[in-house]
């Protein structure tokens, strides 16, 4: 179950040696009890005493992440200048990822003694037990003759003294952070059960200038805020960016010629083109999960409907046909259904329809208004903005049940999902100053934290995990 996942992660990143020894995998899955496993059940299960062990749901996994040693100190163009300094920086990035995630209590390389190259594959478990570490992340970095870096990553269970996972990555020096993110992803997904997500990018709208004359630029960055880059120069207002599933393009809304229109920006060629030559203003673009289609909304004579168009251009197909405003379609992960917002009942509410526009049904029935729905990549949740006085981020299941608030502030809106469907990202507007900032919150409603951006930010959108 786990090894295809690891292989899938690993292969596109030029994986040199592949993860997970068979023994470790067997141990991970069966808890090393396979040989005699069925015995007690068969013989004495009926008579054996039975007790409940009731624990608490907490985030108390102490993970030690010492610096990644190197076999030989060599100069490298990557951050730090040489492989030894780079090893420390790699561990710092892994530490930062896991710490910000909130599910763990990591201890970073700056608070731990260094380890030798030999210890990476054979950790000194007694020492780590003495430091009351539950889990241990080891790694190493080697510089190859061609300048490429080999980064190894190991996860150990200190209490059991066993290896839980290992991976290796070969990266170009400028991609060294991705190796650290992949390592953090391995630890995260092995211990949380979730799919990885650290090795991903975020597109958002960077806001500067006074309240009544905001400059809104399209910008991108890594999931931890590093490698920040502006895409547009801010001469025309940009809004609601969305990464294509393969990261090659961004679709967003621009006021380039005065009216709001949807453009596709090609990141490689830095060219952009209009999605459709519609009659009216177009907005709220979304990719289909396979990247072949774009959903958008178009207003014609006060009536707004949702359309679908091929990403390569061509004829648009109208999916809704109600007299009200239908806007903001978002595909389910299998592409079979679309969740959208409509005011056909008199106020904004969330509706679900089939991908061809049939079988439109309202799903939100909990008072107040519900806007900007976004289907989780995992498929089991829909995030939306609930408007009842304040604007709050909430989630519900696709049938409209089990609604839960994730935030409680004055104005939180425009939720989007992390690629693994575990974290919801949104932007918050401060009541007095009108300044905006990007926030993330765990699906459980805990671990709310602000993302560091160089300037104010809004309309965040997470791309998929990098191949």
């Amino acid at each position: 179950m786990r090894s295809p996942l690891v292989a899938g992660l690993c292969a596109p990143l030029l994986c040199a040696f592949l993860a997970l020894s068979p023994a470790a995998e067997a141990a991970a899955q069966t808890g090393q009890s396979a040989p005699q496993a069925p015995q007690p059940q068969a013989t004495d299960a009926a008579t054996s005493p039975e007790e409940d062990v009731v624990g608490t749901i907490n985030n108390d996994a102490a993970i030690a992440i010492p610096s990644f040693p190197t076999n030989e100190m060599l100069p490298t163009p990557a951050d730090g200048g040489n492989t030894e300094a780079l090893g420390r920086n790699l561990a710092r990035v892994v530490y930062g990822d896991l710490k910000n995630n909130g599910l763990f209590k990591p201890v970073g390389p700056d608070a731990l003694p260094p380890v030798t190259f030999g210890e990476v594959a054979a950790p000194a478990f007694p020492n780590w037990r003495a430091r009351s570490a539950e889990m241990l992340v080891h790694g190493f970095v080697k510089a190859g003759p061609d300048g490429r870096l080999t980064v190894g990553c190991y996860l150990y269970d200190v209490a059991l003294g066993s290896e839980l996972a290992r991976q290796g990555y070969v990266v170009k020096p400028e991609d060294w952070r991705r190796a650290a993110h992949k390592c953090a992803d391995m630890v995260y997904s092995r211990l949380s059960g979730e799919s990885p997500f650290f090795d991903s990018k975020i597109a958002y709208i960077a806001e500067t200038g006074p309240k009544d004359h905001r400059r809104k630029q399209l910008a991108i960055m890594d999931s931890d805020g590093a490698n920040h880059r502006f895409i547009t120069n801010g001469q025309t207002t940009a809004l609601t960016p969305r990464y294509s599933p393969d990261y090659s393009k961004l679709v967003y809304l621009s006021y380039m010629n005065g009216t709001p229109r949807i453009y596709i920006y090609d990141i490689e060629s830095k060219q952009q083109r209009l999605v459709t030559e519609g009659k009216g203003p177009t907005f709220a673009p979304r990719w289909s999960p396979d990247g072949k289609f774009i959903l958008y909304s178009m207003a014609i004579a006060g009536n707004t409907d949702i359309y679908r168009v091929s990403a390569g251009g061509g004829e648009s197909i109208k999916l809704t046909d109600s007299p009200g405003i239908d806007v903001g379609g978002s595909y389910s992960p299998d592409g079979s259904r679309i969740v959208f917002e409509s005011d056909r009942s008199g106020s904004q509410q969330v509706y679900v329809m089939n991908a061809d526009g049939s079988n439109q049904k309202r799903v939100s029935f909990f008072g107040g208004r519900a806007a900007t729905p976004e289907w989780s990549p995992r498929g089991d949740q829909i995030a939306f903005t609930h408007i009842a006085g304040d604007l709050r981020i909430a989630v519900m299941n696709p049938a409209g049940g089990e609604m839960r608030y994730l935030t409680d502030s004055w104005q939180d809106e425009a939720p989007t999902w992390s690629p693994n469907g575990r974290i919801v990202q949104f932007f918050r507007t401060a009541k007095t100053t009108g300044r905006t900032s990007i926030w993330q919150v765990d699906l459980t409603g805990r671990n709310e934290r602000r993302l560091n951006t160089p300037v104010d930010g809004s309309d965040p959108a997470w791309g998929p995990v990098l191949p």
Binding site: M1, S33, Q39, V53, G193, Q381, T444
Partner: protein
């Protein structure tokens, strides 16, 4: 009789008729009589005291079996299963002068019985029981050794404990005949038909206290985690070490917590492995050798 005077006075002065006065007097007499009858205990009747208060305890665990120890049924044997062990006492003459408590005269006698001692001992060895030696040499030899010497007080030669106090014993010669002795070599004495609730609770607390910290230090986080249950059956050896752990049986899986299921069960198994060994009372090994824990998080 004394009453008639007041009636006469009352009658004319208040305007009662004679019948009314008479009725009033009769009524007063009747009341006085009734009060007297009620106040004085009628003779011939005993007053019952209220029953004494009784303390009632509600037990949630009842059993057909007795949980009180029965020292007789499985008492430790009074003869060592292997009588050869204590033999190699090379110097029989030495202890002799010190002891012989039943005998008031230490010196003259000891020398005589001291010598024959090596001879009679080898003899009983084949006699008692050649067969019951399935558990041949565990610990029993140590314990029974003391008893057999006491159990055969008719042989003063066997009482050779060097530190035994001198003087006569206050116990009669027939004292030990009243004690039931067992025949099962492995018996440790004081068994009960079933383990008491207190003993079970102690075992439960011991296991829970050791398993809970590693269960808590293995976080599983996400939606509807509180619905998951992992039942793990495991087997322990006499030392409290885990012999085997069965594959956990999971329940409470929902679409929202599916991703955490594998880690949840893994953590349950890890908690047992990390908590072992358990220090549990050896005499109730049969009770705890197979144990089942239902893990959950709230």
């Amino acid at each position: 009789m004394a009453m008639s005077a007041p009636t006469d006075l009352a009658g004319p002065s208040r305007g009662f008729t004679r019948e009314e006065g008479l009725a009033l007097v009769l009524a007063l007499l009747a009341h006085a009589g009734l009060i007297a009858a009620l106040t004085l205990a009628p003779p011939g009747k005993t007053i019952m005291s209220p029953p004494e208060r009784m303390t009632v305890t509600f037990a949630d665990e009842i059993a057909d079996q007795s949980t009180s120890p029965d020292p007789d049924t499985q008492a430790a044997p009074d003869v060592a299963p292997d009588l050869g062990e204590p033999l190699p006492q090379p110097a029989p003459p030495q202890p002799a002068p010190q002891v012989a408590p039943p005998q008031p005269q230490p010196k003259p006698a000891p020398l005589a019985p001291a010598r024959p001692e090596p001879v009679p001992k080898p003899q009983p060895q084949p006699q008692p029981r050649p067969a019951p030696q399935p558990r041949a040499v565990p610990t029993p030899p140590v314990k029974p050794v003391a008893k057999p010497s006491a159990a055969a007080p008719l042989d003063p030669r066997q009482r050779t404990r060097p530190n035994a106090p001198g003087g006569a014993s206050q116990l009669g010669a027939d004292f030990l005949k009243g004690i039931n002795t067992g025949t099962k070599p492995g018996a440790t004495g004081n068994p009960a038909d079933a383990l008491s609730a207190e003993a079970k609770a102690a075992i439960r607390v011991t296991i829970n206290r050791k398993v809970l910290p590693p269960w808590n230090s293995c976080p599983v986080n996400g939606l509807e985690i509180e619905k998951l249950r992992a039942s793990v059956t495991f087997q322990l050896d006499r030392g409290g070490n885990v012999v085997s752990i069965a594959t956990p049986v999971l329940s409470g899986q929902t679409p929202a917590n599916t991703a955490q299921v594998s880690r949840f069960t893994e953590c349950a198994v890890r908690a047992i492995k990390t908590a072992a060994p358990f220090s549990l009372p050896a005499e109730s090994y049969d009770f705890w050798k197979n144990y089942k824990l239902n893990f959950r998080k709230e």
